[in-house]
């Protein structure tokens, strides 16, 4: 009996030894908003990271200096609490000893969480924070795959210069969080350069639910265009209240978020029609990818697995994981400093677009102007018109 027990024990030991020998792992850590008020967008990051990690592993993992590694994920739910997120990132590095960091959603969170990466000198590639504030602090370990917030409206304003009738006056309404402050600052500059007159310029409190005062003010000024920056829930309220107070821009309105997102369009139903927006990403066949084939296939697999379609947040998250796969392979080591230097040099085609970081760590991608037409997202304008806009948008009374 005793010898049998010993044999079993020895076998178990041998097996576990073999298993741990095989399982060389690179762990990526992140604190993502899986619950709380940002959960609706946060899920793109949790799910986007997971599907990409699984796919890379399925295709053989990552080869580092001749050894095969599998990717692993360690994700905490930050409950949409920025302070909790920061603590979780510290925990990821000090207790869980993850190799590298992925980011949270939203500029406010990325702004704080990236300081943890910089302090511990572990690279973070984050696809959820676009504010230029994140990249203007001289940090070396923070990389971002969302295009700069300052430029969100630049393609829209370019389009306004080429469209007939040409808009002259603009109302700018933006939230007071890091991302939207950055959008508003950039937009003011772009409007000035384009010679457009700013007739309303109002900032609102993040998480604001009532826009009636701002809308009434906008109505009294009768601008040609409304440019709006904030989070999805607020965009929803803005549009619903614009309808109930019969507030119409003379020519068009555009929103930084929401328009490319399926459940936003679903919640608004017909009222979502005609809204302009922008996206750095559309699930197109032309966007080739080493692991997923192309963006269209990625979108299909994502939808099949998670039961909702991806938008650019999910694609940006996928690009973050792929960036690590590329950089670690190129570095041939897991040393954070060397991997950091390789991330700064990456230059590859992905399902998300061309991934290459500027010296400040942020990607540069053009924003395609989109519009909701018959419940679908239609690309309208990139460098020039690529689709037919429904313009000027009809007032609520004529819809």
């Amino acid at each position: 009996m005793g010898s049998t027990k010993l044999a079993v024990l020895a076998l178990a030991l041998a097996l576990s030894g073999a298993a741990s020998g095989q399982e060389k792992k690179i762990t990526l850590g992140a604190a993502v908003q899986l619950t709380g008020r940002l959960a609706n967008t946060g899920r793109y990051y949790g799910d986007g990271y997971q599907i990409t990690v699984d796919r890379i592993n399925q295709k053989g993992g990552v080869t580092v200096g001749g050894t095969k590694y599998q990717l692993a994920l360690r994700i905490y739910d930050s409950q949409s609490d920025t302070n909790l997120g920061v603590r979780q990132y510290v925990q990821l590095l000090t207790q869980d000893k993850v190799n590298f960091l992925l980011g949270p959603f939203s500029s406010n969170d990325a702004l704080d969480d990236s300081s943890v990466a910089e302090k511990y000198q572990v690279p973070m590639v984050q696809g959820g924070g676009a504010s230029t504030q994140i990249f203007s602090r001289g940090y070396k370990y923070v990389f971002g795959t969302l295009p700069p917030a300052d430029d969100y409206f630049s393609s829209t304003i370019k389009m306004m210069g080429k469209i007939d009738p040409k808009p002259k006056t603009v109302a700018l309404v933006a939230a007071d969080d890091s991302f939207d402050v950055s959008v508003a600052n950039g937009t003011r500059k772009l409007l000035k350069e384009a010679g457009l007159e700013l007739v309303v310029d109002k900032q609102f409190r993040e998480n604001n639910a009532d826009f009636s005062s701002i809308l009434s003010l906008v109505k009294s000024k009768g601008p040609d265009v409304i440019l709006w920056a904030g989070h999805e829930g607020e965009a929803l309220n803005f549009i619903r209240q614009a309808k109930s107070l019969d507030v119409n821009p003379k020519l068009l309105y555009s929103f930084t978020v929401g328009v490319p997102t399926a459940d936003f369009r679903k919640a608004l139903g017909k009222d979502a029609e005609y809204a302009f927006g922008m996206t750095p990403w559309l699930p197109e066949k032309e966007l080739k990818d080493d692991w997923f084939g192309d963006a269209e296939q990625f979108a299909k697999e994502y939808q099949a697995r998670f039961n909702y379609p991806p938008d650019y947040h999910a694609a940006s998250a996928a690009a973050d994981v792929e960036t690590f796969a590329k950089a670690v392979a190129a570095a041939g080591t897991l040393d954070p400093k060397k991997v950091r230097d390789e991330i700064a040099k990456v230059d590859f085609q992905s399902l998300y677009g061309h991934v290459k970081f500027q010296p400040n760590g942020q990607i540069s991608l053009p924003q395609t102007v989109i519009q909701i037409q018959d419940g679908k997202v239609v690309p309208i304008f990139a460098e020039d018109f690529i689709g037919k806009p429904r313009y000027p948008i009809p007032p609520w009374s004529k819809r």
């Binding site: 609706n40 604001n208 009532d210 005062s213 701002i214 619903r240 019969d246 919640a267 139903g269």
Partner: protein, 286 residues
């Protein structure tokens, strides 16, 4: 001047809904001495109840409101009977802890069951409006305002004229005396909390018509309800509606004439002012 008129109307309409939110909180607070931290979560659940009644069963939101309120009354009655009655006479901290726990449970259950997707109750007339000498009055908001005032008036009448209502007030004023006169406080507490939940449910449904519902709307609404209940006085239904109006108008005016980012400063600034000027308000004996 026209803009001023519009802002005033916006503020009044919003204030009515605010008042309804504060009504349930004030009632529970006044009678049970419980600061119900799950009040916002009850508002949220009421919103979902009406949302599903409208989208799944096709019931018109304003007709479905009594049904949603009934469901919330039952929930509230059960919560009080099975849980809150166990600790209603213990230290205030216990009731705070329990209602806070309920809030967490409700919010996370809601995300599990309903996901974090945005929901709107969007009947065809939701965005319609009428223009009166240059001032736009949205029907849905006007309807919500009407319902709020109606419910406050009903609550006032019930508390003032019916036997049960008088028992509720008696319990709030002097528990021992009420018991001597044959009032069963546990039953009265359950009815009170159920009514509070039903009022929260109505507010949630109306909120879904004019705004949106997610599992997370509750936190800020609990805070708002708290302010409104204190502004209005805890056991005076019409006063609470008045408190809602004050807050709604103040916020709307501040957004235009000061800065839209100041709305929270206004609401909590008002709270501080009331507490400084009339601290008795908080003790429920104003």
């Amino acid at each position: 001047m026209q803009l001023f008129g519009q802002i005033l109307v916006n503020g009044i309409l919003l204030g009515g809904l605010y008042g309804l939110m504060g009504l349930g909180m004030g009632l529970v607070w006044g009678v049970l001495k419980i600061v119900n931290l799950a009040h916002g979560a009850l508002i949220m659940l009421g919103g979902y109840a009406l949302y599903f009644l409208y989208t799944k069963a096709g019931v018109d939101p304003f007709l479905g409101l009594p049904l949603a309120m009934l469901a919330m009354f039952v929930l509230g009655y059960l919560l009080q009977t099975l849980l809150l009655n166990l600790i209603v006479r213990s230290a205030q901290l216990n009731t705070l802890l329990l209602t806070f726990g309920l809030d967490v449970v409700f919010v996370y259950l809601a995300q599990l069951l309903f996901t974090a997707d945005f929901r709107t109750i969007n009947p065809p007339y939701a965005g319609k409006n009428v223009s009166l000498s240059g001032v736009t009055v949205p029907y849905a908001q006007l309807g919500a305002f009407g319902v709020a005032v109606l419910l406050a008036a009903l609550l006032y009448l019930v508390l003032d004229k019916t036997r049960t209502g008088r028992a509720v007030r008696a319990t709030a004023q002097n528990l021992v005396a009420a018991r001597l006169y044959g009032v069963n406080p546990k039953r009265i507490y359950a009815i009170t909390f159920g009514t509070g939940a039903a009022l929260a449910g109505a507010a949630g449904g109306l909120y879904g018509i004019v705004s949106q519902i997610t599992p997370y709307i509750g936190v800020t609404l609990t805070a708002k309800s708290f302010v409104i209940a204190i502004l209005g006085g805890l056991d005076k239904p019409l006063g609470v509606i008045g408190g809602g109006l004050v807050l709604g108008i103040a916020e709307a005016m501040a957004a235009l004439y000061l800065d839209p980012t100041y709305t929270d400063i206004i609401s909590f600034g008002l709270l501080v002012l009331v507490l400084v000027a009339r601290p008795a308000q908080l003790l429920g004996r104003a």
